[in-house]
């Protein structure tokens, strides 16, 4: 058995005649952060949805801890410990931190029809968990709407971990955040990986991905351009590979051309 937590081998996904993904292969190890990079339309969303059980792959296999698996639903993936934190975070801003943390999975006490939501225990766990990542929840009954974007992101990740995630799929966790907030979230992601989780970090921001990632998979037009270990890859090379490099060179040439015509 390999030390891969999860393997995606030659995954393809077609929508009618459109090839959304073709032969994408990725391996995620315990304690590692794998960054999935790609421009808009590269197939990142489709890949996430395939990983998290929303879509079924048309070709290829998914192997979780050595066992070949088919996810029938997002619930299936979740039960296997593959948790996805989407960009909308699935947080309700009018509800309290605690009520959000345990949304859908509330701890209860009592019996039968008198079973109640054990709000005290929930409060304790929520503030404890948030405290562990350095967010001092002053009052766990405060509304999530009062938290900053970074704190919300951390809450969503912390919730996924608390409910038994082994593999975390994070969809653009830093895209809406400022520099400081983003670094708080990235720090937390590194900590989560260090505790033994496998992390798939989806982003198009090389500057966020490069410092934290152990390996990098670059997606372009539905195909994987390969997975690279950090030691074999410089930041510049990564930037260049992210569709940007070549395109920007071309753009520069074109701009010069326009400039030249305008002058004449």
């Amino acid at each position: 058995m390999s030390d891969n937590l999860i393997e995606f081998n030659n995954i393809s996904k077609f929508f009618g005649s459109v090839i959304a993904l073709k032969d994408v292969t990725m391996h995620i190890k315990r304690g590692q952060i794998m960054c999935l990079l790609g421009d808009n339309g590269a197939g990142k969303s489709t890949l996430i949805k395939t990983l998290s059980g929303v879509h079924k792959p048309d070709e290829g296999e998914i192997i979780v801890e050595g066992k070949k698996t088919i996810f029938d639903s997002p619930r299936d993936a979740l039960d296997m410990g593959i948790a996805t934190v989407y960009q909308d975070l699935a947080l309700v801003s009018l509800m309290s931190v605690t009520r959000n943390f345990f949304m859908g999975r509330e701890p209860t006490k009592g019996f039968g029809p008198f079973k109640t939501f054990d709000i005290n225990r929930a409060n304790t766990i929520a503030s404890e968990r948030m405290g562990q990542i350095g967010i001092d929840v002053r009052d766990p009954s405060q509304a999530v709407g009062t938290m900053s974007g970074g704190e919300r992101q951390c809450l969503a990740i912390s919730r996924a971990i608390y409910f038994g995630a082994k593999v975390l799929i994070l969809d653009e966790p830093t895209s809406a955040l400022g520099v400081h907030q983003a670094s708080v979230v990235l720090k937390y992601i590194v900590k989560a990986a260090a505790s033994g989780l496998g992390v798939i970090l989806i982003t198009h921001n090389v500057h966020h991905a490069y410092p934290v990632g152990n390996s990098f998979t670059i997606l372009n037009r539905g195909k994987s351009m390969g997975t690279f270990e950090k030691k074999n890859l410089s930041r510049e090379k990564l930037l260049g590979m992210m569709a940007g490099g070549e395109e920007l060179d071309k753009l520069e040439v074109e701009l010069k051309e326009i400039d030249r015509i305008a002058k004449n």
Binding site: A90, V92, L94, M95, R99, G104, E106, T116
Partner: protein, 372 residues
């Protein structure tokens, strides 16, 4: 001990930590507006009509009964509104339920208790239909239940006229007395207290020596019981958390495993059942069913829920608030008779109150979500 106090000190020296006073916590409660409004209304009528008999036992029972009738449906409407949906068919459901009790009991010879159970099962059916239509089609509940408003009212009228040839079905009073369950909706509670108070001469009596107010009406008991139950449900159970989640962010809630569809359908059943409770109380009290019963009640229930702090967009509100909203409504609608003010102005007051409440709620929502 010392470490504990030290950690507290550390905490309070945190630059990001702000002391939040008890008052501020209270200010963020959804029911605050309705509670404050109720107090204001009582002060107002205490001054204006304090010596008119409005606050005698009989007068109090009178305005409590009006409040209670509305409160029964307002509490259910509030839960549904927190769950992110409206039910405009509540008023029509009241009329429909009344007919469902009266026609089988009078024309088909069913025992009254069986007619009552029949009405409740019809309510579950109507609520389920509303719920499944909204959940399956994804259409706004405003439209779906508006359609149901007309369907039910029309059906009530058509069926009643078809079977009875009239729009009213009287003659239920005699059936109430021997029925095993009708008392749940019609009996006055704590009669002995009122008789005792009457014998002491503390409350007004009739000519024959019995007290004018004979007891606490069943509707008031229902109102209080339903408010307590709904509050318990909202604040203390998993289901309550699901209601908030379904109304706050449907997709988010679904993504983390909240059965949003089931929650909404059950809430629609809740409003229809509450409408039937209302119908039972009214029909058994009056001894007759009327096809127009409950007309416009759906809007009054929404007013009460909104005054009680429910956001129209869902995800926020309280059952206690809705109960107080109903209390304001009942107190003013009855109290106005004790003043010199023309009763025509009541609707104006209602509209203004709702406007103020909505503006106030909006402000509260911003406070809650924008870290002020």
């Amino acid at each position: 001990m010392s470490t504990k106090s030290k950690s507290i000190q550390n905490k309070s020296s945190d630059e990001r930590l702000r002391k939040v006073s008890k008052l501020k916590v209270l200010l963020n409660r959804p029911e605050l507006g309705a509670l404050g409004g109720s107090i204001l209304v009582f002060i107002f009528f205490g001054i204006i009509a304090g010596d008119t008999g409005m606050f005698s036992a009989y007068g109090t029972i009178n305005f409590l009964e009006v409040s209670a009738n509305l409160g029964i449906i307002a509490v259910a409407a509030a839960l549904l509104m927190i769950g992110g949906e409206f039910d405009l068919s509540v008023g029509s459901m009241i009329g429909f339920a009344g007919i469902c009790i009266a026609i089988p009991a009078i024309y088909w010879g069913w025992p009254l208790w069986m007619s009552i159970l029949f009405a409740f099962s019809m309510a579950v059916l109507v609520g389920y239909a509303n719920g499944i239509l909204v959940v399956r089609t994804g259409l706004p509940s405003f439209i779906v239940t508006l359609a149901m408003l007309f369907i039910l009212r029309g059906a009530t009228l058509a069926i009643t006229r078809l079977i009875t040839g009239r729009t009213q079905v009287p003659g239920l009073r005699v059936l109430v007395e021997d029925d095993p369950i009708a008392w749940i909706f019609s009996a006055d509670a704590f009669q002995f207290v009122f008789t005792w108070l009457g014998s002491l001469g503390l409350i007004e009596l009739r000519q024959d020596g019995t007290p004018l107010a004979t007891g606490i009406p069943a509707s008031v008991i229902w109102w209080i019981a339903m408010t307590i139950f709904a509050t318990w449900l909202l604040m203390k159970t998993r289901y309550g958390n699901w209601i908030f989640a379904s109304g706050g962010d449907k997709l988010g809630a679904r993504n983390v495993g909240v059965p949003v569809g089931r929650v909404k359908i059950s809430l629609f059943i809740g409003t229809a059942v509450a409408a039937t409770v209302y119908a039972c109380v009214q029909v058994l009290d009056a001894g007759s069913a009327d096809t127009m019963r409950g007309f416009l009640k759906e809007l009054e229930a929404i007013v009460a829920a909104v005054v009680g702090g429910c956001l129209l967009t869902g995800g926020y509100g309280s059952a206690i608030g809705a109960a107080f909203g109903a209390l304001i409504f009942g107190t003013v609608s009855m109290g106005i008779y004790y003043t010199d003010v023309d009763t025509d102005w009541f609707k104006v007051f209602l509209g203004v109150m709702m406007l103020i409440a909505v503006i106030f709620n909006n402000y509260i929502r911003r406070r809650v979500t924008e870290n002020k």
